[in-house]
């Protein structure tokens, strides 16, 4: 395995780290600022047809009769199709993985055939010349339903009185138990035992650009081009190929600009598969753009958990053990191909993660219900694991009469203890909990805030300070999905090409969702080759032009894609120096590349402009030695393998004021200290943290998909489902500790999910800290004014 190998060029020169560590703006943002983005719905193709879906109004019902006669007569209608029609062109799938032992789920079709299992599941597709015409026809479809019993409550589901999929025998999709042994003994000898049941509201990603797909089948070639708002073009290429029976290399998936994804757009959606199948069936381009109501009813939801957790500690403040029982409900199907078992699995793997206790027991049940499906959304499982851990840690500190920061200091794994194996089995390469805690306390002026808090309490102002230490899974190896049989790539590739004018084109398999991937790839490529940033162009999101790779998920873009770019850049520089040595008749070892020119390695004297190098290599290779061939296109791949995941760590703090008369929580300030290894662009890293924190605040205070007992989504629109808005959000202070991973030369770890992972726990602890003088606690997210007033027995 490699080791961290910055600097990139001669140590001590200004090129040492190049653009790495510099806050340069993203070049591709300029296009978006002028309204010149190319999202799927912005594309215009000839003969484009539009599809809309008839969706089940019932949470669980048998389709007795589908009648299209009236709707088929509508103007502009090209065709109306049932699930059975579409199943002739698109095979069903099953969302299971071999390494999640025992996970089960029934086959799922692109459009439901006999039965709808949640309100919003598509049961028919209408294709017309315009979307308005398709929606007109949709209103005339007639369906006769036979309503079936619904399973809405997760405990009722677990009990199995009513089984949703009879052929599976029960409602348990996946179960797991983990036990180090010795947990009961640890609780028996503990001086202090605390227990709490935490509940987490089901919520969703609310990407501003809804799910969008434009599939263009070419019957003459039996080929399919799909313009897709997705995070994983190669994964989708494989899936379209397999389920539509089109050769893999004849399927091209293009993800141009994507209007937010957050994990929502990395899954297989039945209506999107149906759109691709309809393009094949109709031999013309077909577009589906979800409307906002469809988004709420069918974009994956996440995080519906109820967890009982216990913590055992000594009088001296040493945590001995954690013990937890997690119940989570995922809707009627495990989502393909990542499964809906991963979120709960993460809760089991990560709870208690920052601490040095040795005894750990966790039980997990993942059950089916007749709500929309859930799957991996930003920070998968982490917000639950962190809130559980930090909530019970705070409760223990309070019972011990110990300051929460001090209690954490005593129990966080020492910065010198690595490599370290956590009791759940996960391995940490190198973390920096204590450095992060110290930096956080200093940045937030912790002691002063505590003093102020005491003074304000005398004036009946209830302020609270909440801390949340965290670990985060990033840079996943094949251990995440590949080992379970999913055709999801853990490796990524980057191709770099020197253009004749001395410019560099980068093609990378990691995609851009707005997080700045293309920006940091340009920084890394420019640094590794030795050119200025304005000489680099980056292409992502096209299976026909980029190397094969996994795309964007699990905070892997910088750490994996970035490493591939770095290695490719170094290889290209080496090849360029071979050419320069041949042209200049000098030893390659005397040369380097800096400021768009071949230079003398020591003196930095300019020897050959890169455009001259390019001219000779491409147009006058006859002047080079007979046995020399210039190679100016280079590809390198990178797969992290030494560890299953490259964990990051960090800690957040929230300062809130609770109005005990109205139940409103005012967010005063938020801090996040994160160790994501080598920071490539501090501004972009901070913006990932801030954006993530605000999504986490949404989970803590506002967001929940509410269902009626009959399975009707009650707030599935933007007016009723609250997300954070500018006026309520605090300023967020970010700071960094840099512990590069030694697995790669770049040393970068992921940072996309840290904010979302830690913020809900920090806010929860801050609210409970504010309420502590009133002897009440809240434990069910989101902490709405109603829930806070109920806790205060005021409503």
């Amino acid at each position: 395995m490699g080791r961290a190998e910055l600097p990139l060029h001669a140590p001590g020169t200004k090129l040492e780290r190049g653009y790495i560590g510099r806050s340069v703006p993203r070049p591709n943002a300029k296009r978006l600022l002028q309204g010149r983005g190319a999202y799927v719905d912005d594309l215009r193709l000839p003969r484009l047809a539009h599809v809309v879906f008839y969706r089940s109004p019932h949470a669980h019902a048998r389709i007795k009769k589908l009648q299209f006669e009236k709707s088929l007569k509508c103007e502009g209608v090209i065709g109306i199709f049932s699930g059975k029609d579409i199943s002739q062109y698109c095979t069903p799938w099953v969302g299971v993985l071999a390494h999640l032992k025992g996970i089960k789920s029934p086959p799922q079709h692109a459009v439901a055939i006999d039965r709808a299992c949640w309100q919003g599941e598509a049961v028919a597709a209408v294709v017309a010349e315009t979307r308005a015409q398709a929606e007109d026809a949709l209103g005339l479809i007639e369906v006769q339903w036979e309503e079936l019993p619904v399973v809405m409550d997760m405990e009722a589901s677990l009990s199995g009185k009513e089984v949703i999929h009879k052929e599976l025998g029960d409602n348990i999709c996946f179960a797991r138990a983990h036990d180090t042994g010795g947990v009961d003994e640890a609780f028996a000898r503990a001086d202090v035992v605390v227990e709490e049941t935490f509940e987490f509201g089901r919520h969703t990603g609310v990407c501003l650009e809804t799910r969008s797909i434009l599939a263009d089948y070419n019957a003459a070639e039996h080929s399919l081009t799909v313009y897709h708002s997705t995070q994983a073009p190669h994964m989708m290429q494989d899936i379209f190929s397999r389920h539509l029976d089109i050769p893999e290399a004849s399927v091209r998936v293009i993800a141009r600009d994507v209007g937010g994804s957050f994990g929502i757009k990395v899954h297989v959606y039945p209506d999107e598969m149906a759109t691709a199948a309809l393009s094949v069936m109709l031999r013309r381009p077909v577009k589906f753009v979800a409307d906002r109501l469809e988004s709420f009813a069918t974009d994956i939801h996440a995080r519906e958990h109820k967890v009982k957790i216990r913590l055992a500690a000594t009088r001296a403040g040493e945590i001995l053990a954690f013990d937890l029982d997690d119940l989570t409900a995922i809707g009627p199907y495990s989502v393909y191909p990542r499964t809906s078992g991963i979120e709960g699995n993460q809760v089991v793997n990560l709870t208690g993660g920052p601490y040095k206790h040795q005894k750990y027991r966790a039980k997990l049940n993942v059950v089916f219900t007749n709500k929309n499906v859930t799957c991996q959304y930003r920070a998968v499982g982490h917000p639950i694991a962190v809130a559980l851990t930090e909530g019970i840690v705070d409760k223990a500190a309070a019972k011990l009469g110990m300051d929460p920061a001090e209690f954490r200091r005593r129990n966080l794994i020492a910065d010198e203890a690595y490599p370290y194996t956590f009791p759940s089995g996960v391995k940490f390469e190198k973390l920096s909990h204590h450095k992060c805690l110290n930096l956080l306390l200093e940045k937030m002026h912790y002691q002063e805030l505590r003093q102020e808090q005491i003074q304000l309490r005398e004036k009946n102002i209830f302020r609270g300070i909440g801390l949340a230490a965290m670990i985060e899974v990033t840079n996943p190896s094949p251990a995440f999905y590949g080992v379970g049989g999913a055709r999801i790539s853990a490796q990524d590739g980057a191709t770099l090409r020197l253009e004749p004018t001395g410019m560099v084109t980068v093609m990378c398999s990691v995609t851009e969702q707005g997080q700045g991937t293309e920006g940091i790839f340009a920084q890394i490529a420019a640094s590794a080759v030795g050119v200025s940033l304005d000489k680099v162009r980056v292409i992502t999101g096209d299976t026909a032009t980029t190397p094969y790779g996994g795309g964007t998920w699990a905070s892997r873009g910088a750490g994996i894609g970035g490493e591939a770019v770095l290695q490719s850049g170094r290889a290209l520089r080496s090849n360029m120096l071979d050419i320069a040595a041949a042209i200049l008749q000098l030893d390659k070892n005397e040369l380097d590349i800096a400021d768009d020119s071949v230079v003398h390695r020591v003196t930095q004297e300019k020897k050959l402009p890169l455009e001259e190098l390019g001219r000779v290599a491409y147009f006058r290779p006859d002047t080079l030695p007979m046995d020399f061939q210039a190679e100016l296109t280079v590809t390198r791949h990178y797969t992290p393998r030494q560890y299953g995941f490259t964990f990051t760590n960090g800690i957040q703090a929230s300062l809130v004021e609770v109005d005990v008369d109205t139940g409103f929580v005012k967010l005063l300030k938020h801090w996040c200290v994160e160790d994501s290894g080598t920071v490539i662009n501090p501004m972009l890293v901070d913006e990932q943290l801030r954006g993530g924190v605000v999504q986490g605040i949404g989970a803590a205070l506002y967001e929940e998909c509410l269902y009626s007992p009959e399975g009707q989504l009650l707030n599935g629109n933007m007016a009723d489902y609250l997300v954070p808005m500018a006026a309520e959000m605090p300023d967020i202070v970010c700071a960094h500790v840099e512990t590069p991973t030694l697995q790669s030369q770049l040393g970068a770890k992921g940072v996309g999910e840290a904010g979302t992972a830690g913020a809900p726990g920090a806010v929860m602890n801050a609210i409970n800290d504010a309420l502590a003088p009133l002897n009440v606690r809240v434990t069910a997210m989101p902490f709405t004014p109603e829930r806070i007033l109920k806790a205060l027995a005021k409503v």
């Binding site: 600022l33 309204g35 990407c207 501003l208 906002r292 500018a726």
Partner: protein, 155 residues
């Protein structure tokens, strides 16, 4: 039954036949080819479709195209070409006040509206003014920073 409408879009007079039910945002995107403004929620909440009609910012998904007959409509494309929002765009770029960019055209129009109507808005006033425009990526702070910089720099 289609209606004939004539309006000035980004300084150019255009005439089209539209259905009475056609929203202004769909008219601009589908009939005029101005895809810079986005339909985010289609019920007037998210602000991604924010446009300027006769100098006032409106939700393009709540206004019908026929209502814009005889009006002057400005979109992000027009304000970019005229350079009216160039300072804002520069500040947004430098602060990374956008990620996916889907909300950005609407956000820029809302920000420019504040700059035109307010002498020197405070940070809190900036936050309040853009609170009708959802951004799911940034957490808003960089957007507030960018607008604040333009407000302070230009006056």
């Amino acid at each position: 039954m289609e209606h004939s409408i004539t309006l000035v879009v980004n300084g150019t007079k255009v005439s089209r036949q539209v259905e009475p039910r056609e929203h202004l945002i769909d008219f601009l995107r589908e009939k005029i080819g101005l895809t810079g403004s986005h339909a985010g929620c289609e019920h007037g909440v998210c602000g991604a479709c924010t446009l300027r009609v006769d100098g006032q910012i409106v939700r393009g998904c709540l206004m019908l195209a026929v209502q814009a007959n005889g009006c002057r409509v400005d979109t992000v494309e027009g304000l970019s070409d005229s350079k009216e929002i160039a300072k804002l765009q520069k500040a947004f770029h430098e602060h990374n006040a956008l990620q996916c960019g889907f909300c950005t055209p609407g956000m820029l129009l809302a920000a420019q509206d504040l700059i035109l109507q307010s002498e020197k808005p405070t940070r809190e006033e900036i936050r309040n003014h853009i609170s009708g425009n959802y951004c799911r990526c940034t957490g808003y702070q960089a957007i507030v920073d960018a607008i604040e910089e333009v407000v302070n720099g230009s006056r």
